[in-house]
Symmetry: C2
Subunit: 325 residues, 2 copies
């Protein structure tokens, strides 16, 4: 697909994944508008789009506030709907706020798209979280739904809105169920955007971090590979109305990941700690995505090895630490 001059909206575009996508699309010549309500604790960071003013328009607003976002949404050919908060613990502590951010705003946005721009292509960033503890591995899209936390309940509802609006109203939506995504521009101040964030902070600061458990198996997607997947979804109309898993690097235990990170960085260290009881109740254990359906349909595949991705991530934060810590 030719992205030059294509009007694109990215909700959550000041955040981790959104900003990486915005930079890629701006580089391809797309007319990018970012909509972001700038919740820094969920990853919005002005530095993420530093130096790009002019190329990328920024609307500072919650995507659920129609009057602020309508002009951009109405003019968009493609809408990447990535805004949200990913902290499972925060969703338990402030469930009503999670409902607003992760579900209500999506409904408002979809209602706006339905009324004002029903032909737009819409790509939603969903999550593997609501599969709950996997009943089998790798997990395909037919795996039962069993949200283990408030965040999972709201993300599943938000995904359901997207697919329902495709079926009932003919909207051109696709949902991608992400696993752990990592790379430059993620939040590393704490663990709100994955435990890997805080681990990276520790190796940058040459301190020790804690690995909870250590034997859980997870898969990781380097953010540039995910950007490839988002573009591939937008370019493939055969994905409309469906949800697809997105995986990435081969699965690895958290202990192995910690070892790889420390070895790659050459700094920091870690200690294995027992899993905190409070977190255990909402933890999902091992997870490995079966993303063969998406790969077959679009030809996409993850290209970045874990060691390579970690090295590039660590290099980014060494250069930009002041803006992320």
């Amino acid at each position: 697909m030719e992205w030059r001059n294509v009007p694109v909206v990215i909700t959550g575009g000041m955040g981790f994944i959104g900003s990486n996508l915005a930079l890629r699309l701006a580089g391809l010549g797309a007319a990018v508008t970012v909509i972001d309500c700038m919740l820094s604790r969920y990853g919005a960071n002005r530095h993420n789009l530093h130096g790009t003013r002019g190329d990328i328009r920024v609307v500072e607003a919650d995507m659920g506030t129609e009057e602020s976002v309508a002009p951009a949404v109405e003019a968009a050919s493609v809408i990447f709907n990535l805004a949200g908060q990913t902290s499972h613990m925060d969703s338990m502590q402030e469930p009503l706020e999670d409902l607003r951010i992760n579900q209500l705003s999506n409904l408002s946005l979809l209602e706006l798209i339905r009324r004002s721009n029903p032909g737009a292509r819409v790509i939603f960033s969903s999550t593997r979280q609501f599969y709950g503890p996997p009943r089998y591995l790798p997990v395909d899209e037919a795996h039962p739904i069993a949200a283990p936390d408030i965040n999972g309940i709201h993300k599943y509802a938000a995904e359901s809105y997207h697919l329902l609006f495709a079926r009932v109203y003919g909207l051109r939506t696709t949902a991608l169920r992400l696993t752990n995504v990592f790379g430059p521009r993620m939040r590393i101040r704490d663990a709100k955007q994955t435990f890997l964030g805080i681990w990276i902070r520790h190796v940058i600061e040459n301190t020790r971090f804690e690995v909870w458990g250590g034997e859980q198996k997870r898969d990781f997607t380097y953010v540039e590979d995910l950007v490839d997947a988002l573009l591939a979804a937008a370019e493939c109309d055969a994905t409309i109305g469906q949800a697809y898993n997105i995986g990435g690097c081969p699965p690895i235990t958290l202990r192995e990941l910690a070892e790889l990170l420390v070895r790659t960085a050459g700094t920091g260290g870690f200690d294995i700690r027992e899993f905190p009881a409070e977190r255990k109740k909402i933890d999902i254990g091992d997870y490995v995505a079966d993303d063969s359906a998406f790969r077959k349909l679009t030809g996409w595949q993850a290209k970045t090895g874990l060691a390579d991705g970690l090295a590039r991530t660590v290099a980014f934060y060494r250069a930009h630490a002041a803006h992320y810590i």
Copy 2:
């Protein structure tokens, strides 16, 4: 279980199912408090509890408004959480309102219970709606989730809250997934609470009603049998943390049901009409509940035959038509 003097809260207690439950429990000597925000278009009707003032306390408030409902909720041993709206079409036309009524208010109530009365027994009226068009019949609880409309998305999220709060916080919740419930005190002014409501209005008024399609198979629960099931759930701690289907009379096609209703009433008539396109998109086709799990666990079973239930329902509306039409 001995219900005498047990403090019970019933949300949505001015509505169809809630009022039947309130009357039964008041008869058993329970100290019943009804919480209802009196949305008449969703079934709240002052006549439903007519003549019982004194026995049953009524708090007119949305269950999501903590300051109004907290005293009753904090004092309750058992909370039957039945408030909600059931119109699938309304949920599509006013999705944000459906989100507030069917999901947000449930989250607020559960947060209140968690903080102020975590030992209360909580029974939630869920729905078979979110199974979507059945992939097999009869439908058991392991059937995949595929909400066909906004209402289904929100009811599923609300049920998920109840089960999550059991697992994570130890709340004593059970969800019952209802199919078509009918009987005295249902809304018959229109079809917002099942098509059967408007059919009954027509036979009472001796006019003709429309049957859309006619070959869809459904099962029906007479409201007194459902009240039995609600009490059985509350009395059986083995159901805590789980969701159970509730069925009732043997399945019947809508055409057969219409014939039975007209024959039972001796008035009215019907015409078969093609299913409207707008509704077809969110219709679920045939549905038959497998409720064997709940029956085995609690010993409950539906006792009222369809013809008997219809006769009692028609007799009720003949006597009270002015308050329901």
